[in-house]
Point group: C2
Chain length 118, copies 2
DNA sequence: CTGTTCCCTTGACGGATGTCGAGGTATCGG
DNA sequence: CCGATACCTCGACATCCGTCAAGGGAACAG
């Protein structure tokens, strides 16, 4: 990979028009790709479904790590990826941090992909 | 990555229930992740939008390569990724191969992601 | 203050990935 | 048959990524 991917802010709302609506700009392509990359891992898909199943209260690193049979360090890494992509929100409560899914961001990302809806 | 990702068939229809509908199985997580991985690249996002813009007739490797300023070998690699994920269909016509987007597959993948719709 | 629990960061390792150049195969027009 | 065009495959290179072990900081109970 000669040209490394730049780092851009992803915490904001998913912005761009559907991919099917016209040729996307380089910037939009990069943004969508980075958000998708945050999701493109089997562990993170399971992680997301677990967090979604936990409801608005959210889920903790330890419990997710036990469920997935992974180290807390690895789960922390994955949670960081999803958070930085704006797909998860983190809320500290005592010594624990509760992660909840951002359903709006997820829906917006799906909308960018869907050629029929929207 | 200690455990390398297995290779599975992706040419069929996107099958599984939305990620928000419940905790996904390991198999479903893998399938969704592999399809998303096929899309999680800025070049492939642009590629997909170009192919979509070309309509049902499809687009050719050479023209896409010129548009993207990439080698035909690189574009062939990306087209292969998208095809193997079931997102593109290829039709030979003389010496050329026309690639068209599979809007149904794309919409189904979006549906798996969307927590609100479906 | 001490110990426990929870989480994050760092460093390291092996496997995966995007890009290209070179070379091979197929189709078609002379 | 020859050349041109379009596509693919292969090998190589640099970079990225998922995983873990080790260690440190923060909150809380005693």
């Amino acid at each position: 990979m000669p040209r490394s991917l730049p780092t851009i802010e992803l915490s904001g709302a998913v912005c761009c028009a559907p991919v099917a609506a016209g040729v996307v700009s380089d910037g939009d392509a990069l943004e969508v790709a980075l958000r998708l990359k945050a999701l493109a891992d089997p562990v993170r898909i399971k992680l997301l479904s677990l967090v979604l199943a936990a409801g608005s209260g959210g889920a903790r690193n330890v419990d997710l790590a036990r469920e997935l049979q992974l180290t807390d360090a690895t789960v922390s890494h994955h949670l960081g990826q999803l958070s930085r992509a704006g797909l998860l929100s983190a809320t500290r409560q005592g010594a624990s941090i509760y992660y909840a899914a951002d359903r709006l961001a997820l829906g917006a990302l799906a909308g960018v992909l869907d050629p029929n809806c929207c």
